[in-house]
Symmetry: C2
Subunit: 626 residues, 2 copies
């Protein structure tokens, strides 16, 4: 066994000879950014070896500069360890996703809550029971049932009790002097506690994204969210999109099991942090609602996702599922807790979109709206109460910072807003620290600014310094730097960055954004055609996603991500899926509604559309009409 020490954490771990640094990082619980899934393509997992430097591999020689190799930089996914080693892992590449999700739907969710507030079949009943005697030899269970019957609980005769609860009953009854609280869900006992605990009743809603997993703890008595925790999906180490995850499940022995374990562990961490923050007992969590894309849905349940990926894209199940916590191996909740999993729409439009439609009330809106969820995939829904159409676009994770030279997620040190005029550049950094990179909203803003100044042309080319408008100041002009055959734009000078290296927007970065925005826009265009309406008919555009919160609407229009509409019709709404999951948690009527929503949404398979390629090519161009 070889010892590896990670700095600055000083975390130690022993691994087998020949393990990669990436595997060691994973074992020790440090999640880093590996957009290519550890395949040695993206070169993002750069770490610094302080002690125990290895010979660089061919891939490392290709992806790292000579200087970097000399200094001891290596790629975590490529370097195998054969002796004790000390490694520095820069903050920049870490996925220390501490930012708590917030939704701009607060007003809406209060309205929804008031409409459907605590429409729940969950009941907690306190019982002060008679003690057994030779004259009263009722079984413990009969005693409880009779007690409930005196409290006028319905359907006593059909009441079910799981073996897990029966196991707790005899000792608990006697320990608590026959004063207990019984929790009922529909016609089943799901918990039994000592004394009167009728006020302790909680639920948790999970939104499992490809990149981020969020858990919302809700007090079911008062109907309020009491704590939120978000974490990076640890599966990210196997690649940043669902296709890589499916590949991992297929190509590795027990791959599916590993992915399932990773996601359940994350849910467990979120449960733990939430219950600690809220100072509640996890055994009082009786209701769980889970949303996620179809792939995450399958991985969580241990369903083989293999047939999602290739045509004709077939999921195992789309329907909603009513489960118990024990149906999800290792989930650290009482085995009898209820788990409701929202339905999927298709292989690439999942339960998170159903939750979104629920959360933004699209399902009861008379007017036509356009709902765009900018996650790792870009899902688009168009329609109204009457009918909805949806498609999934292969937008890729560019807006999450992946595949972008200085891209990063919207965390501390990320530029999330950029303003460039003729003479100067201004930008905003999250938490106002030294710059570490640029996140999705900053990127959209930056490209829009460069388009405005004409530094990026219609086809997406970063123009030469000489081609610039004569009015442009030397300060800006100087920032265009020729490298090999392409140009790059200097956004941040070295003295302002955390690692002392300048931050550029490269031609390749622009191409990535073009591909992403073209994918989304093509989806919108084809849906409009399917519904036979024009962009002007859209009364509201709702931009959702963890990174949708901060997107500058004008910039989004300028780069052609969304149709040009009055800004008042556009709203950035944060994590709509999480909001929808909370609504479903609070209301069983809304859970039933989900199944109806999923059936009401027509899925359009873009890959089978003859007009797709043409529209996509057109959408690659930048739209200058503002």
């Amino acid at each position: 066994m070889i010892k590896i020490t990670f700095l600055p954490d000083k975390k130690n771990i022993k691994v087998n000879e020949g393990a990669t640094i990436l595997e060691a990082l994973e074992s020790v619980g440090i999640n880093i950014n590996t957009p290519c899934g550890g395949k040695g393509i993206c070169g993002k997992c750069k770490i610094l070896i302080n002690k125990g430097i290895t010979t660089a591999t061919l891939i490392e020689e290709e992806l790292l500069s000579e200087e970097e190799i000399k200094e001891g930089f290596r790629l975590a996914c490529q370097t195998k360890i054969f002796k004790d080693t000390i490694i520095e892992v820069a903050l920049k590449i870490r996925l220390d996703f501490k930012k708590v999700f917030s939704s701009n739907l607060e007003g809406d969710i209060h309205r929804i809550k008031n409409n459907f507030f605590l429409c729940s079949n969950l009941k907690k009943v306190f019982l002060d029971l008679e003690k057994p005697s030779l004259a009263d030899q009722r079984s413990d269970w009969e005693r409880i049932k009779n007690g409930l019957s005196l409290k006028k609980i319905e359907n006593i005769s059909n009441l079910k009790v799981p073996v897990e609860i029966l196991k707790k009953i005899p000792d608990l009854l006697r320990k608590s002097d026959f004063k207990i609280t019984v929790t009922l869900q529909n016609n089943e006992i799901i918990d039994i506690e000592s004394g009167n605990t009728t006020k302790n009743s909680y639920g948790i809603a999970f939104d499992i994204g490809t990149t981020t997993v969020a858990g919302y703890l809700v007090d079911l008595v008062i109907g309020e969210e009491i704590s939120v925790v978000a974490k990076t999906n640890p599966q990210i180490i196997h690649g940043d999109d669902v296709i890589s995850r499916i590949g991992f499940a297929q190509q590795h022995k027990k791959g599916l099991e590993k992915l399932q374990k990773e996601i359940v562990n994350t849910l467990n961490e979120i449960i733990k942090e939430n219950t600690q923050k809220a100072k509640i007992n996890r055994s009082n969590i009786y209701e769980v609602v889970i949303v996620g894309n179809t792939c995450m849905h399958h991985l969580l349940l241990g369903l083989n996702p293999s047939y999602i990926a290739p045509s004709p894209y077939i999921p195992v199940i789309k329907e909603s599922l009513n489960l118990k916590a024990k149906d999800i191996p290792r989930l650290a909740l009482e085995p009898t807790a209820n788990v409701f999993i929202l339905p999927n729409i298709s292989a690439f439009v999942g339960a998170d979109i159903v939750a979104g439609i629920l959360g933004i009330c699209m399902w009861k809106n008379e007017k036509i709206s356009l709902f765009i969820d900018l996650g790792t995939n870009g899902e688009v829904v168009l329609g109204s109460k009457k009918k909805m159409w949806t498609c999934s676009t292969a937008a890729g994770p560019a807006f999450e910072g992946a595949r972008i030279s200085s891209g990063m997620r919207a965390v501390e040190g990320a530029i999330d807003k950029v303003k460039i005029d003729n003479k100067s550049i201004d930008y905003r950094v999250i938490k106002d620290v030294k710059v570490r990179g640029i996140c999705g909203s900053g990127l959209i803003n930056l490209i829009a600014e460069l388009l405005k100044l004409g530094l990026i042309n219609k086809s997406g080319k970063l123009i030469d310094r000489e081609e610039c408008s004569p009015e442009l100041s030397e300060e800006i002009r100087k920032r265009i730097i020729k490298e090999q055959k392409a140009n790059k734009f200097l956004l941040v000078k070295e003295k302002e960055t955390e690692n002392g290296k300048p931050i550029y927007l490269t031609q390749k970065d622009v191409r990535e954004v073009q591909l992403a925005k073209a994918a989304i826009y093509t989806g919108i265009k084809i849906l409009l055609r399917e519904v036979n309406i024009s962009p002007e008919d859209i009364q509201k555009i709702l931009l959702a996603g963890a990174f949708g919160n901060f997107i500058d609407k004008e910039s989004a229009i300028r780069i052609g991500l969304i149709p040009q509409l009055p800004l008042g019709r556009i709203k950035c709404i944060g994590n709509a899926a999480g909001t929808g999951a909370e609504v479903a948690l609070l209301s069983e009527r809304m859970r039933e509604k989900c199944q109806k929503i999923a059936k009401k949404v027509k899925y359009i398979e873009l890959s089978s559309r003859p007009d797709f390629q043409e529209e996509f090519t057109k959408a690659m161009f930048f739209n200058f009409k503002v």
Copy 2:
């Protein structure tokens, strides 16, 4: 680790230094007779150490003869092993319970079957499904549901599918070219198989006794029993009655878990042997019915049995339970298989008695009958279709051979029938081999014969040789042997026994039988009083139990085990509980009936009866009126 070899099996095992031989036997799967539960009281677990002889303990010195200790005999429960050892385990003490249970109810069960034959909600449906395409992107589950709907299966919209089945679906569908067989139970999918397997549908009924566990494999398509396997309950190592088992669960860390494991392992062995004998696939077992006494019921489910034993004798649950195989940890059946557990009546009248009442059709008999189950406990039920009364008697395991000097179970080498006239003794040995001991039916027969000859008097005393009738031959008279202050009767001379030692009936043996028969008879008497009828009102006596098959009716009357009635009214019926369990397996209507039966039977708590002690004392005397 120390190596122990057991002869004649030549089974080896490695155990920790200081382990007892009993523990080693248990680990290697050899079950031996330990009526006292390994407490060093009964001296029954005698084994011969061939190599590695140990110093005898004080208990061994007391319970074994000097000669035996010299030869190397020790007690398995007392001897601890500290070096490699070779041990001979005589057949006599083994519980090689190979005899298959048989019921004398064959005519009845056929009648029952014809009445309720295959009243089941289990359905197997073959589907030849269309393959998916871009034009048909239904999920796998939707495809199956639509297929079922075309076959006119009801309640498709509410059809449930457990996660376990969902996991199997995607690969199975494609492997079987979309030709599958779906198994439905009520509104749930419980199995899915490749190809057409509609003919493979099985169920298993278990009767879990304190001493013996039997499993009846039934073909649910043709409604016939196809294999039966019976095994010794391995918990017997912790004592031969339910009170010792409860004590073990309370006094040992993880005691309950250990007892549960032991019983589930036995069920698994029975499943394995049955499926091998019948050459069927265990995954085609969809229905399980379980009966047993209340203690076995609790131990199987992992329910704390502590409050069953002390007054006021409270079980956790008496109601029937509809479970899944996965609710019983480690049960080696498909997790989705249905498990129905019959209801209990009280702490000491269990589901086996409900099954017995079902099996003998007492619940629909207009006439009054008396049902006695001579298991390790002796349960008595009196009544008719209208109403039934029951009690449990602390009969003890004397009729199973325990606590009797040469007692043994009704297996190979046991005397099961005895005839003594003035001059000679005749007996029957099971399988006609050398005598190993005497079983319950032989014991009842023997005592009845000795009562007839006046060698046992009314109070149960084995009389002195001199007190015998002058007409008695010298041959018989010689067999009365004075030992210390009491007499014993020589039943078998040494040359006719397996171990070359004579077999006696001791005064203590007679006392044990007196206690047992007095307990049963007192139960009967008190029930008669409760119902306010006289013995003559009983139209039928049904003697059930593994040892009830062979009991001589006249002898049973003579010793006062049952009331004196015309022999035509008495029937020995073998294992009625097993028969009832099979009926419940075949018919869901009968499962519902069980719950009604359990409610219709009034439990009489003998310990709270003021007349109990007086009746019991009276019943200790032998009844000479034949």
